[in-house]
C-alpha cells in the first residue's frame, strides 16, 4: 500500500513536471516561431529610435573671405519632464543641487532650461552624471549669427525655421542662395536602454549630414568688423 502511494505521488509530480515542460515549450514555440515577426516589430518599435544629425548652413563671406553670416552650434541642458515617482524626483533634485544653485520648480512649464551654452567639458560632465535620468537632456541649439553694419545685414537678409525645423532664408542673400547655403541633415538609428540611453554598439549612421556651401558676396565688411568679437557677443546673448 505504501509502495503504491509512493508510486502515485511520484506519478503526480512527474505528470505535473511534464505538463509544465509542455506549457513552457509551447510558450517558447509561440513567441519564437508563431509570433516571431510581430514580437520583433514590437521590440523595434519600443527600443529603436531614429534621430537627425544637424547640417550647418553655409557661411556668407565678404569679398575678402571674412564671414558676415554663419551658423553657430551650442548646447543647452534642459529638464524635459518631471519624474513620476516622488523617490526618483527627490534623487534627481539632489543630483541637480550638486550642479545648480537654483532650486528647480517641478510645477514650472516644461521643458525647463537648466543651463545654456554648455562648454564641451560640461557636455561630458552632465552626460555622465545624469545618464540614469532620461528626464534631463542635452539639446543642440543652432542659431544664425550676422555681423556688420545695418545695410550689410539687410543685404544678407534673414532666416527662419520652417515646419520641419530647418533654417531657411526668407529674405536677402539668405533667400537668394538658400539652395547653396542649406545643407542636408544626416540620420542615425540607435537602440535605447530602459533609461533612454543610447546603446552605442547598436548605433548606425544611415545618412551622413552634408553642410551647406559657403558663398562669397560682393560687399566688403568695414575694416573694423571683428567677426570673432561679434561671435562672442552673440554667443553670450
Amino acid at each position: 500500500m505504501a509502495a503504491g502511494g509512493f508510486k502515485l505521488k511520484t506519478l503526480t509530480i512527474l505528470s505535473f513536471l511534464l505538463i509544465w515542460a509542455v506549457v513552457a515549450a509551447a510558450h517558447v514555440f509561440y513567441y519564437a516561431v508563431a509570433k516571431r515577426e510581430e514580437s520583433l516589430a514590437e521590440t523595434r518599435r519600443i527600443a529603436w529610435r531614429e534621430a537627425e544629425i544637424p547640417a550647418l548652413r553655409g557661411k556668407i563671406l565678404d569679398r575678402n573671405g571674412v564671414p558676415a553670416a554663419w551658423t553657430e552650434l551650442c548646447h543647452d541642458f534642459i529638464l524635459e519632464r518631471v519624474p513620476e515617482s516622488p523617490r526618483r524626483r527627490e534623487t534627481l533634485r539632489r543630483r541637480m543641487a550638486r550642479f545648480f544653485s537654483a532650486e528647480v520648480s517641478w510645477t514650472a512649464k516644461m521643458p525647463l532650461l537648466l543651463k545654456n551654452s554648455l562648454s564641451p567639458e560640461e557636455i561630458v560632465l552632465y552626460a555622465r552624471e545624469f545618464r540614469f535620468f532620461p528626464e534631463v537632456r542635452i539639446v543642440p541649439v543652432i542659431r544664425r549669427v550676422v555681423t556688420g553694419p545695418p545695410e550689410i545685414r539687410e543685404r544678407i537678409g534673414k532666416t527662419a525655421r520652417n515646419n520641419a525645423g530647418e533654417i531657411v532664408g526668407i529674405s536677402g542673400l539668405e533667400r537668394k542662395y538658400d539652395m547653396e547655403l542649406s545643407g542636408r541633415a544626416g540620420r542615425v538609428i540607435v537602440m535605447l536602454d530602459r533609461n533612454g540611453n543610447w546603446c552605442n554598439e547598436t548605433l548606425r549612421i544611415t545618412r551622413r549630414a552634408e553642410n551647406g556651401k559657403d558663398i562669397t558676396a560682393d560687399f566688403l565688411l568695414p575694416a573694423g568688423t571683428d567677426a570673432s568679437v561679434e561671435r562672442l557677443e552673440n554667443a553670450e546673448n
Binding site: 529603436w48 529610435r49 537627425e52 547640417a55 564641451p120 548605433l203 549612421i205 549630414a209 553642410n211
Partner: protein, 90 residues
C-alpha cells in the same frame, strides 16, 4: 571478456570527452570571432561618429573649438548624441 567490456566503456568515455572538448573549442572559437567582429564594428561606428561630429566643429564657438575637438575625438558617440535632435520611433 571482462577487460574487453571495460575497454569498450573507456572508449565511450574517451569519445564523449573528445566530443565535449570539440564543442567547447568550437564555442570558444565562435565567441572569440564574435568578440573580434564586435570590436571591429565598434571601431567603425566610432570612426563614423567622429567624422560626423567633426563636420559640426565649424559651428562651435571659437573659445570651445580646441576642447571640443579633443573631447569629441575621445568620445564621439556622446557628442553625436548631444548634437542629434528629433528623436522618434522608427
Amino acid at each position: 571478456m571482462e577487460p574487453v567490456r571495460k575497454n569498450g566503456r573507456m572508449h565511450y568515455v574517451l569519445y564523449a570527452a573528445i566530443l565535449l572538448l570539440s564543442l567547447l573549442l568550437l564555442g570558444a572559437g565562435r565567441f572569440r570571432e564574435d568578440l573580434g567582429n564586435r570590436r571591429i564594428r565598434s571601431m567603425q561606428t566610432k570612426a563614423a561618429c567622429r567624422e560626423a561630429v567633426a563636420e559640426l566643429e565649424n559651428g562651435i564657438a571659437e573659445r570651445y573649438r580646441q576642447s571640443w575637438s579633443e573631447l569629441a575625438g575621445a568620445e564621439p558617440e556622446l557628442f553625436l548624441r548631444a548634437c542629434s535632435a528629433g528623436m522618434k520611433a522608427q
